[in-house]
Symmetry: C2
């Protein structure tokens, strides 16, 4: 019969690949916990409506959707934020605020696989719900950087590009744009870094026919600093949002990650539901997609039938992160090892081998032995192939005196020890 392959865009996590995934996910968890987040998770599938209500029907083509026996439309989660909003909504009155939750969900998107983008991946999510303080935004960004710093990515390797959706909105309104024109401009500005200047001018002419308004809008991509944007913020509301963004940068400085952070007016985060500060983390050479993206979203809970509750958070995928770590030579080597490989010097003492291996395990150490009764040389070879740290030989005569030989395989050093003494040394 023919062999069946894995589905394109998914990964088989063989032990060496699994070790990398575990290292990444464990690092995410550690960073979350030391920053005061607690872990949650959602089901892998939800009612399809959870996604269409937030993102419209066009999202359906990007989802793996299915129908259950009762004819209900379901979909595998393409992101966890809608589930988070659903879960928080359900217990909104019972949860002490701020809610600081993290998760490392497996997500699936029905996209065409390409570099840095697979159909199945893992994504670290941290969210702070119930605080409108800029400190919550600062803490969200800090947590992402804290992890990246812990895997030795320096400010020379990565940069956090930060802007504010509310600031952009107020500055555009100060320029004379109407509320219902804003989304058009967000999409336009979001595309700016991805297209040529000519193509951008053409798109701008089409979307903003008013030449005066367009000229003002064209100033925005030229903005480099907060002082530049302050000069364009003519209303009190606009000035207020610039001041808020300045405060965010001050916090990030005080938190010790100022060198990672940079104001960048071009960070818009597409058409998504952001309402305040937004950020994306990139490799400095910008050869890869964003490693991480997030921001403040104060209206998501209402879209799902809940009250208006302020929220901020981010997502970081494993795929681009892994590519970057490999490119920078910052991925550690992983070897799976066992502590003890127990060898019999003859078939008659195998019962003792079995008992000893189990006794070692009951002390919390890992132990293995050969299923085949074979000569010691072959058993030592198997110990090597399993990368055991120590081999233990149970000899036919020595075991009568309750003694075993413990050999450190890296150095070849060995000694005879009493079995009980050896076992009690393990606890």
């Amino acid at each position: 019969m023919s062999k069946i392959a894995a589905v394109k865009g998914t990964r088989d996590f063989y032990p060496d690949i699994m070790a990398v995934r575990n290292w990444i996910v464990d690092g995410w968890k550690d960073a979350s916990i030391r920053n005061g987040f607690v872990e949650y998770d959602s089901p892998i599938f939800e009612y399809l409506e959870l996604y269409t209500r937030k993102s419209g029907d066009e999202i359906v083509s990007q989802l793996f959707s299915m129908t259950d026996r009762g004819g209900r439309d379901l979909a595998i989660r393409p992101e966890i934020t809608p589930s988070l909003a659903r879960m928080v909504n359900q217990q909104i009155n019972a949860l002490p605020r701020p809610v600081k939750w993290f998760s490392t969900p497996r997500l699936c998107r029905a996209e065409r696989p390409q570099k840095g983008r697979l159909r199945e991946f893992f994504q670290w999510n941290c969210d702070i719900v119930g605080s409108e303080s800029i400190l919550a935004d600062a803490e969200s960004i800090y947590t992402a950087v804290d992890y990246l710093r812990s895997v030795n990515l320096t400010a020379d390797d990565i940069v956090v590009r930060i802007s504010s959706r509310s600031m952009l909105a107020e500055v555009l309104k100060a320029m004379g744009f109407a509320e219902d024109q804003l989304n058009t401009i967000y999409v336009l500005l979001d595309k700016k870094p991805k297209v040529s200047d000519e193509a951008f001018a053409e798109m701008a002419a089409e979307q903003v026919p008013d030449a005066d308004l367009r000229a003002k809008m064209m100033q925005l991509p030229e903005v480099k600093t907060l002082d530049d944007i302050d000069a364009l913020a003519h209303t009190d509301a606009a000035k207020q949002t610039v001041a808020e963004l300045r405060e965010l940068f001050t916090c990030l400085d005080n938190m010790g990650i100022g060198e990672y952070c940079k104001f960048d007016i071009q960070i818009v985060r597409g058409l998504a539901y952001y309402t305040g500060p937004v950020f994306e983390i990139f490799d400095r050479s910008e050869s890869l997609r964003a490693i991480c993206g997030g921001g403040r979203y104060d209206s998501l809970l209402t879209i799902l039938g809940g009250p208006k509750v302020p929220a901020t958070g981010f997502g970081m995928g494993d795929v681009v992160l892994e590519i970057l770590l490999r490119e920078k030579g910052k991925m550690p080597e992983f070897t799976s090892t066992i502590d003890y490989f127990v060898i019999d010097a003859g078939e008659d003492v195998f019962d003792r081998v079995l008992k000893l291996a189990c006794d070692i395990r009951s002390k919390g150490k890992s132990a293995s032995f050969s299923y085949k009764r074979q000569n010691m040389k072959k058993q030592f070879k198997q110990a090597d192939s399993q990368q055991a740290k120590y081999a233990i030989v149970v000899g036919e005569e020595t075991v009568e005196r309750n003694e075993i030989t413990v050999k450190e395989l890296a150095t070849g050093q060995q000694q005879s020890v009493n079995i009980e003494e050896f076992l009690s040394s393990l606890s």
Copy 2:
């Protein structure tokens, strides 16, 4: 707008529920590693054919299946063994044998939810591929019991019921059954414990019309010991399989888990692909479904286009396990805590609070602070609600001398310490 609920038969893992899941899964991982298994994982979805080829088209109604943009039929994994077989097949010549792999996959089945059975669950899988030794079967059973023992389930709480599919086959053939009748008898015996004696007699009369053969077959449910079955094993082949099962029990005794294990001829494991020893673990009161099931399956790789390679393993789900642990009062209490909650004695020193919290985190400890600038009483209240172990007060005057007050919240004991000395005490 109306609220959207979670899909029936799935679970929302709020932090307190997530803590239970993590405790169970981490325990599985620890037990796997100390018994010499290494971790792997498969994609959450596979080509539908991977499941139909192993289990026939009737499996489709139990799967969550979907179609991708290219029109290919996919399904969420209902078990991981087919993926394991696919992955081993793919690297069959590169993998040193025996392959000892474990995984703790999330699985989905389109079943009607009921007690102990959900549509989404986690299952611990350990498999040993490439050894036909009975020691591999013993180690598989040992590993399952080793975990259950580690969560304080004693031989009074649970029992491992063990039989052998090959033994049953040889005994049935010794009785005069033909090879092609065996599956019928497996299904019949599998149903025996679930139906009344009358219903069983009726089913038996229907499936085995030959009165003489049927009378012999009816002896099987009466078999209580290996001696009983030895008396029915009239051929050398049958005697050989009984001897093998005796050897398995001797190994389990030598491994120190004899008291957990019991021979039970009624363990058949349905129509699945087992070819040798089979086992199921139950609570002693038998009020719940099986906690764990497994056995030897020497032909699975060939079904998926690979060579014939011996294999044995088991699966243990989280749902029944959790019910049993709760019933037995063996589920620990989990509280999420943070190490330090940093409090400002006045708004002016908040910068120092922020810096200190980040410095504590950089030492690997968890730290939190209030987003709101509010009086100390309210900040202490927040420290309590986050179950902080210590509160740290940054005072307006003391911080000038580089001093902070560290208060243990459980005892109320507090002391003033130098900031640098405090931080270096954390590493």
